[in-house]
Symmetry: C2
Subunit: 322 residues, 2 copies
Amino acid sequence: MKTTADYSSDVESALRALPLPEGKFDNLYAPIRYALSAGGKRLRPVMVLMAADAFGEASAKAMDAALGVELFHNFTLLHDDVMDNSEVRRGRQSVHAKYGVNSAILSGDTMLTLANAQVGKVDDTVLRPVLDVFNAMALNVYEGQQLDMDFETGKDVTLDDYLLMTSLKTGALLGAAVQIGALIGGASEKEAKKMYEYGMNIGLAFQIQDDWLDTFGDSITFGKPIGGDIANNKKTYLYLAVGAASKSDAEALAIAMQLPEKEMKIKTVKRIYEKAGAGEMCQKAVAAYMTKAMGALRHTSLSDESKEAFRKFAEKLVGRKK
Amino acid sequence: MKTTADYSSDVESALRALPLPEGKFDNLYAPIRYALSAGGKRLRPVMVLMAADAFGEASAKAMDAALGVELFHNFTLLHDDVMDNSEVRRGRQSVHAKYGVNSAILSGDTMLTLANAQVGKVDDTVLRPVLDVFNAMALNVYEGQQLDMDFETGKDVTLDDYLLMTSLKTGALLGAAVQIGALIGGASEKEAKKMYEYGMNIGLAFQIQDDWLDTFGDSITFGKPIGGDIANNKKTYLYLAVGAASKSDAEALAIAMQLPEKEMKIKTVKRIYEKAGAGEMCQKAVAAYMTKAMGALRHTSLSDESKEAFRKFAEKLVGRKK
């Protein structure tokens, strides 16, 4: 099996070689080229390739599907940034900030169809199961995004709501990435589902870690200002877990969230989190999801070497500082 | 073969039976139910069913793909209405006017994925060719919409540009509808392509007729106010064909389009069109595309009865008053 860095650079080259016409339709395809050139770790396509390799199929065969998964992920970023009014993505202007909202919508639609077409290039033998997984995942991601938007205005968001939203918006795509890779690699439907479970659970661990970093991370290594979630009243794992554990902490948080001055608000909320042991709560939850993910791997026919590679991948993903 | 009215009512029932979950994700699926309940003639899915029947496969088998085509069409309406800032659709609020822009974007995305999933329900034997046709069509539609948006700000739009835009935005979907139906019905790839040609050409005839009706139709039977294209400086077939035929008419049109008062502007432009024989130009173009469409049918193995049904369908479509 290659290293993740090797897979990642394979993905990068393949993305650059994607035929995105210039000329007459440049207003449609230029925003796509821009979005895809933002770089990043290409986690999701790497997961497709890793899983395909691990189950025995040369990764070149899985590259089309891997690119489809990456196109899908980037399509969601284009549309989410419009919906969330986010002007910045990876330190650059978001697509709608640079090209306008209409371009972000239409070029996003184009990326979704390109994603479908790429994923649809898999061999006939796995075409239907792969498409079924892909389409079901896409619906889950939209449902997760809908819940996320609902939470902004909803008052009674519970920890369970959060976990459902996160499993749909984040976990489903990581799960589908390894499931699709596994199917291409020749895994049985049952094993491929176990791989989905692995991806889903590291997705949940990843998001909880991300929530923790947003409040307690280092702004330089995290790559964005610390405390953004608190400033924006986001219903994070920290907020909901601390609130679920203690009624008085829940009340204190609700009041602190109303503080008008941003720095004071962040400081106060952080103090409540620290006193309640939010860091430990996150650690415990992350560890539990990691254990589930590793448990899922155990139910596959993967070699010990491959299992170890997926374990390392998960630890790196969740242990990341940015 | 059934009548188009029968096919249309079959589509209507099948659409109502589509599983669109209520409950937790209602904010995502309610706008879809609303969009699909607007009614209409369901032309595109009817074309899928007609073609499948004509080539020999019971239409029930083609219904999934027909619904996919209708879902796709409605997805484009949701997003186009956002991009064009259109508040009204079929005499009701457009989806973004009723549910907000974010809902129109996200529920539209959901409809595109549902469309892919529906179309992907066809038999294994035709799955790949049908998906290839469907995805290529979708890209064409986006390219057409991009050109249409470009035209709003572009100064030098030619008649050829218009025909390219229309073939992509309107013709491609009608073409793909009958091509997909034909493939499901067991047509050869070559015959199915001829059916695409039929759909493409009636699409062009349809759009030119639509442009003519927008200026010279009856506002009651046409279902919207007359002169809207002139009021909005749209580069229609009338405008571009008259301008292409005579330099002095082109200049007169360019000046008349700058008239500040709407009624005066519509009247003046209409008078230029009338003097230039725009009605006849449209008639000729429509007749030419209809001839091409009928020519394409001749290169298929369709029975005379089926050819006649497709001829009648085209005439009804293009001869419509609304």
